[in-house]
């Protein structure tokens, strides 16, 4: 792992934490998920999931919404799903140029923002329900408006921002394919 990569990973963590605090007034609309995903796409699943875990390690322990250890651990681990998705998608796309087929790629990235968010919301709602002794099914469905807002926001953010950001960061790394 070279110094540029370490610096980029540190920057990704700082960015995700910083944007989370900046967007604290907008519940469930966050750039952290995109940043973790991009980390996985650019550097692989292990690095991507590490960005997610480290980001939540810090943001979750100084969380403006409060601190609950079990929810903190769950969100920390589940956030890594974005990094893993990013890494897997990079493998699935192989040598596909991001400069061409932008519309199709944007739609694909949008769905890759939505689907892991469904998993994230499901798991965090289940953990939330078990921590507060609520029925799991009720917690999942009563939390649906927030979950759908989170998923819809990620659909848009991933769809609009992923391709241009990846192209720009690859240029920065001077290995644009």
């Amino acid at each position: 792992m070279n110094t540029v990569k370490i610096a980029l990973i540190a920057t990704f963590c700082a960015l995700s934490i910083g944007t989370d605090y900046a967007l604290v007034g907008v519940p469930n609309v966050k750039l952290m998920d995109l940043i973790v995903f991009l980390g996985g796409f650019l550097f692989g699943s292990v690095v991507g999931s590490s960005i997610g875990i480290v980001s939540w390690l810090i943001y979750g322990s100084i969380n403006p919404y409060g601190f609950e250890p079990r929810i903190w651990v769950a969100t920390m681990l589940v956030e890594s799903v974005y990094g893993i998705t990013g890494g897997l998608l990079r493998k699935a796309l192989g040598s596909t140029s991001l400069s061409s087929e932008r519309l199709r790629l944007s739609i694909l990235f949008a769905t890759m923002g939505f689907l892991p968010t469904v998993l994230y919301d499901l798991i965090t709602n289940i953990v939330y329900a078990s921590v507060y002794n609520s029925p799991i099914i009720v917690a999942i469905f009563l939390g649906a408006p927030f979950a759908v807002l989170h998923e819809g926001a990620n659909f848009l953010i991933f769809g609009v921002c992923s391709v241009p950001t990846i192209v720009a960061l690859r240029k920065l790394r001077k290995d644009d394919r």
């Binding site: 040598s95 596909t96 199709r104 739609i107 769905t111 689907l115 009563l142 649906a144 408006p145 979950a147």
Partner: protein, 153 residues
């Protein structure tokens, strides 16, 4: 620049988008179901009125039981049993009415029901024990054949 097979299949992208939409719609359907159940349980037991008509299909005039008081959340079967004797059979799809006030369904004619709303008359699509009667709603029982089912005049 050769690994485009996955991307070139537009149906994969369409399927992914539809999957996202279906998941979001399912979650919201579940949310509204729980909201509806919660609201129903809160208003259950409050007294409301409904209008019930029974047309026995033998040329006689429809028997109207207007402004019948029932508890909120009551089904059409509850309302009908309140004002008439009802013989019915329960099954997985709900209660099937065999006779009202001793008048049985026979000769290809069945006890069917219609509900009146701001859109006009609507044919009852569900079993009467699955249909919750609303405030001031008008519902009519008709003894008629499925093929000849017409909105009440």
């Amino acid at each position: 620049m050769t690994d485009k097979t996955f991307l070139m299949n537009k149906w994969i992208l369409v399927a992914l988008v539809v999957l996202c939409w279906a998941l979001a719609a399912s979650f919201m359907a579940g949310y509204y179901y729980y909201q509806y159940s919660d609201l129903s349980s809160k208003v259950k037991g409050q007294s409301i009125t409904a209008n019930l008509g029974i047309s026995y299909g033998n040329g006689s005039a429809t028997r109207w039981l207007n402004e019948t008081k029932i508890n909120s959340g009551s089904t059409l079967l509850d309302l009908t049993r309140l004002v008439a004797s009802v013989n019915y059979t329960e099954s997985l799809s709900g209660a099937s009415v065999n006779a009202i006030d001793g008048v049985p369904s026979s000769g290809g004619k069945y006890w069917l029901w219609w509900s009146y709303s701001s859109y006009g008359w609507t044919f009852g699509q569900v079993a009467c024990d699955r249909y919750v009667v609303g405030e001031n709603e008008t519902v009519v029982w008709y003894l008629e054949a499925f093929a000849n089912a017409q909105p009440p005049s």
